[in-house]
């Protein structure tokens, strides 16, 4: 397909761009296959380059022959374009609509993007499971790297290499996989060096209504316990939700069959509920009534902050079991690709100082999100402004970043990266020139040949000239476990992604870097 077919009017002069907190810019609007570009064609003025893939929805308005297009982006920016001429405006609008809703992944910009920088360190090769396993091997010999999923037939959403207890053979793994939702059998997520305790993750067990059990599954997770020790299963769903899941073939671990484990239920919302929360939150931020009561009640009704609190609390609980109770933990929800990953990744940030460095955080995202099979493409297909019927969109990753930000605010000197780094990840998860967040699993990414056809986000971010603006000048490595407060009084609203302020505290950052 040719993009040119979709572009009826490639260029309009005299377009006025309005952005919140910034002066208006008049210039020429150009549409390309992947970008909306506005340039004043003067020196020293910033041009707007907006990826079509970043556009969540548009609105058209007309006053006489002056058309206005309001562009609402997935990264929650809202911009307004005043376009002289009704026909031009309609053409531009329909082109944007068509170009921003292209379904085929292979038409996405990352497949066309050619970097203007030399790739010195290929991000695709940076975080391979073998390397992570080498680190593990240096600490313990209880684990092995299994190739049971090398053709992705045991579990399509898992990577080809998985860390499992040494004593469990591949055959048992296959049996355990058949007992877990989507084949996601329990695998190692984190090894706590200090006391040798581990965190595993999985999907829900398929006990169904008649209480099916699977000896291999039981054996698999029991193999992670020391003699006489108990472990904790953290189910991210409430007991009621977990009960209901039985009717659909899912369920939870029965005490009788998992006598060495104690189950704890938490209440992290399912992804579709999270999506509603984001929509309501954004609505509340855009409320024009300026009434304090309305703002606070809308904020409350969005449940956004409640979700942040619940996710953080669950992660803290998992970390507490491991570090303070000296117990191993298994985390799962339903599919094991959303709330489970939020919890396991946040727990590692709390426990493991390495995850608070830039490299370590990148590795964490690679391990616990990309390779662990968080369906980025589905979850980030639309955002808060979408008019379309939601399919499987959900701000699962944004909530994770929000939780990281909360910990960062409470421990401002313990992270090597700053808020900008989190914002950058949020933006690239929704729309990017890099291939990192395309696809829903390792298998899909391989099939798309992403590592050959696209550039990795990490190849770009890790260049010293880019890294600079993501560094936290207050960072002092802190080897401790960091316990955040999860009290409502302590949790703040993360305003930056909500576009509530102009480049917030930028002056503060430059002051800090001056010191």
């Amino acid at each position: 397909m040719e993009f040119a077919e979709l572009i009826k009017t490639p260029r309009v002069d005299g377009v006025v761009l309005h952005r919140p907190f910034m002066p208006t810019v008049e210039g020429t609007l150009c549409l390309t296959g992947h970008h909306l570009i506005l340039s004043s064609r003067q020196d020293n003025t910033e041009e707007l380059w907006l990826l079509h893939a970043n556009i969540d929805s548009i609105e058209k308005r007309f006053v006489g022959s002056l058309g206005t297009i309001i562009v609402k982006c997935k990264d929650l920016r809202v911009i307004q374009l005043d376009i002289p001429g009704m026909e031009e405006c309609l053409n531009i609008a329909s082109s944007i609509e068509a170009l921003s809703t292209l379904d085929s992944v292979s038409l996405m910009y990352p497949f066309f993007y050619r970097p203007l920088f030399e790739v010195i360190e290929d991000g695709w090769q940076l975080f391979v499971p073998e390397e992570a396993f080498k680190d593990l091997e240096s600490m313990t010999d209880e684990w092995r790297l299994s190739e049971v999923n090398k053709d992705f037939s045991v579990c399509p959403s898992y990577p080809s290499l998985l860390t499992v207890p040494k004593d469990i053979d591949d055959e048992s793994l296959c049996k355990a996989a058949s007992f877990r939702h989507g084949g996601r059998f329990p695998v190692l997520s984190y090894y706590h060096k200090k006391n040798g305790m581990v965190m595993m993750r999985a999907a829900q067990p398929l006990t169904g209504t008649n209480g099916r059990r699977c000896k291999e599954d039981e054996k698999l997770i029991n193999a992670t316990l020391c003699a006489g020790k108990r472990g904790y299963i953290i189910d991210t769903r409430t007991i009621a939700v977990a009960q209901q899941a039985k009717a659909r073939g899912g369920g939870f671990e029965q005490e009788a069959n998992y006598a060495q484990w104690r189950r704890i239920h938490k209440a992290i919302e399912r992804s579709n509920v999270l999506q509603e929360g984001l929509i309501k939150l954004v609505e509340a931020c855009n409320d024009q009534s300026h009434s304090m009561d309305r703002w606070l009640s809308k904020l409350e009704a969005s449940n956004w902050q409640s979700n942040v609190k619940e996710i953080l609390t669950t992660a803290c609980l998992a970390a507490q079991c491991i570090d303070r109770e000296g117990a191993s933990v298994l985390v799962h929800g339903t599919e094991g690709t959303d709330s489970t990953l939020q919890v396991t990744s946040l727990a590692q940030i709390i426990l493991d100082p390495a995850c608070r460095t830039i490299r370590g955080f990148e590795a964490l995202i690679e391990r616990e999100w990309l390779q662990a099979g968080h369906p980025f493409q589905q979850r980030c297909a639309q955002s808060a402004y979408s008019n379309g019927k939601p399919r499987s969109e959900a701000p699962v990753f944004l909530l994770f970043l929000d939780c990281v930000w909360q910990i960062l605010r409470q421990f401002p000197c313990s992270f090597q990266f700053n808020e900008n780094f989190l914002i950058m990840l949020f933006e690239h998860a929704y729309a990017s020139q890099f291939g990192t967040f395309l696809g829903n699993s390792v298998a899909e990414r391989l099939k798309l040949l992403l590592s050959q056809k696209t550039v990795s986000l990490w190849s770009w971010v890790n260049r010293p000239q880019e890294l600079e603006r993501f560094l936290n000048p207050l960072y002092e490595p802190n080897n401790l476990v960091i316990w955040p407060s999860v009290a409502p009084q302590s949790l703040l609203l993360w305003e930056v992604p909500l576009q509530m302020h102009e480049m917030p505290k930028e002056h503060m950052d430059c002051e800090i870097s001056m010191c």
């Binding site: 108990r230 704890i264 009561d293 609980l317 960091i482 316990w483 009290a487 009084q489 302590s490 505290k505």
Partner: protein, 667 residues
Amino acid sequence: MSCTEVWWSEMEHIRMPKVENVRLVDRSSSRRTQVGTLYLTATHTIFVGKGSEDRSELWVLHSLVCDVLKHKASQNGYPLIIHCKNFQVIQFIIPQESDCHNVYISLTRLSRPEKYEELYCFSFNPNVDKAEREHSWDFLDLKAEYSRMGLPNKLWHVTAINREYRVCDTYPADLFVPKSVTLPVIIGSSKFRSRGRFPTLSYYCKENHATICRSSQPLSGFSARCLEDEQMLQAIMKSNPGSRFMYVVDTRPKLNAMANRAAGKGYENEDNYCNIKFQFIGIENIHVMRNSQQKLIEVSALRSPSMGEFLMGLENSDWLRHIKSIMEAGIFISKAVAEEGVSVLVHCSDGWDRTAQVCSVASVLLDPYYRTLKGLMVLIEKDWVSFGHKFSHRCGHLDGEAKEVSPVIDQFLECVWQLMEQFPCYFEYNEKFLISIHNHVYSCHYGNFICNSQKERKDLCIKEKTHSIWPHLWENKLDFMNPLFKPDQSQNQGLLRPRTAPYCFKYWRRLYNRFDRELHPRQSELDCLMTVKEETQQLEEALALYEQKLAVLDKERAKTLYMQKGVLESKQALWSSPLDTSLANTPQDYIGGFIGGAPNVFTLQQGERESAELCLFGDKPKSSDADNSDQESGVADFSSHSSGEESLPSEDSVKDPDSDETGPNRA
């Protein structure tokens, strides 16, 4: 009555000077307690922990206590809850009911003094001589402040009419009025205003001659008018040659102002005054504000609330809505003065609550000086202390009318804090400064905020008998500095234009949860930056020194051995640890005692309990040690050190900070 007599009479109220085996309960977890001895003195409640080595102490000033409550008996004894005006809540458990009752009766009486002489500031006696004390009262000079503004000048001068407080006993002695008004006009106008509070100058803008004036409401009733008052306003308007009208801002809701008309008071009729534009602003009265803050305090004190409970509580308190309305009033006035160059007369009913708030918020927005340490002190001294904000009534210093109490000054300090959140680089001071002022407004430790007017303070000889807070704060200014302050940035020269979208107003956790240390960030950006700044300064000083020495050495061609010794010494001093994560590096109760299933009650054995260490915020304050005043009712932080336990440890040991987790910068 002399101080000694007062002291003896207060001693009489102490039925129980000492109680043993009292438990101090940690608010963040009622399972953690500390056993010790409770002492009641004439001025303080003191709790001394029974730690073997570190005898930690908690001191609470009686004047900071706003409420003492007895709760139903628990298994350990009889709980006594003390609520303080600085939002600290302390819970003791006293073994014997009679002891508890005696402490309760004593404290109730001691915390409600009936006479000014009973207040702490009259017995507070730091080790300074008389000259020094008098000098402390000269630290701020309002005359100098008016001359900083550019007054007197050819249009404004000081009137001596109120020197003896005869025209208005709640106003200061020195007042600025337009030169053109005659004494009969002032007197006539004062008779037409509630409590004689005639229009007078609060702030003068040198650049464009616009002013902020203040008064009380006119006694207009439904139709009364007063020629002198009209002339007064006309004169104020004319003293701003650039403008053809002035604003009259009534900070009350219109309905309240109209109701006042029935009582012969009310507001200005635009028809009677030439060239005024009249405006209602709609800030609620002191009773609404008192109830609102009460609700806010309840919300802030909730123990592990859900997010919904907290946000609903915040909304229902209406507190932030009130803060927003005060801020908006300040913005209106500051814009009128700075952008339109128009003078503004502000009043409410009596002109000492909302008027003080709004004038001072507008001043902070208008003038960068008030965003400096000294400037904020001066502003409070001028708009609040001198203009007769009724501190004694509003803060409840003496036992009396509960309906007079209202957090009017709290709201002003909070408006400044909200501005600091929006403009982090434009304030010389940090939030500790605001919190410290808040504490001292209520503590009665210094004489500044005693009484309801300048006249009362003069009659009571406050300056002769008490000390002033301002030099004390100034001496500790290093603690109150904002490391991000950029005084010379051009944006900081003019008017601040804060945003007023509802989400720009935040809950002030540092004030309302001041003593709940577990709720605050575990590392402080502020402290960290201050340390970096100090280190930089030291390095620069060292550098300058070495450059000097080098120059000398160059000249004399002497040996350099001497210099190297100096380098080593200064290096050690420079890299002192800036961070303190040790203070809160323990997990909260994330599950509500689920873990283990085993009984999660306090299971420490007696021996362990005694070895548990109570670490209190601040050392033992002595009255001579002015520096400790802020910490007198310090927060208790419990970190029980129990010995290790096997398998599934109890809740308490879960919270034990392991020795390797006490601080990142131990090395």
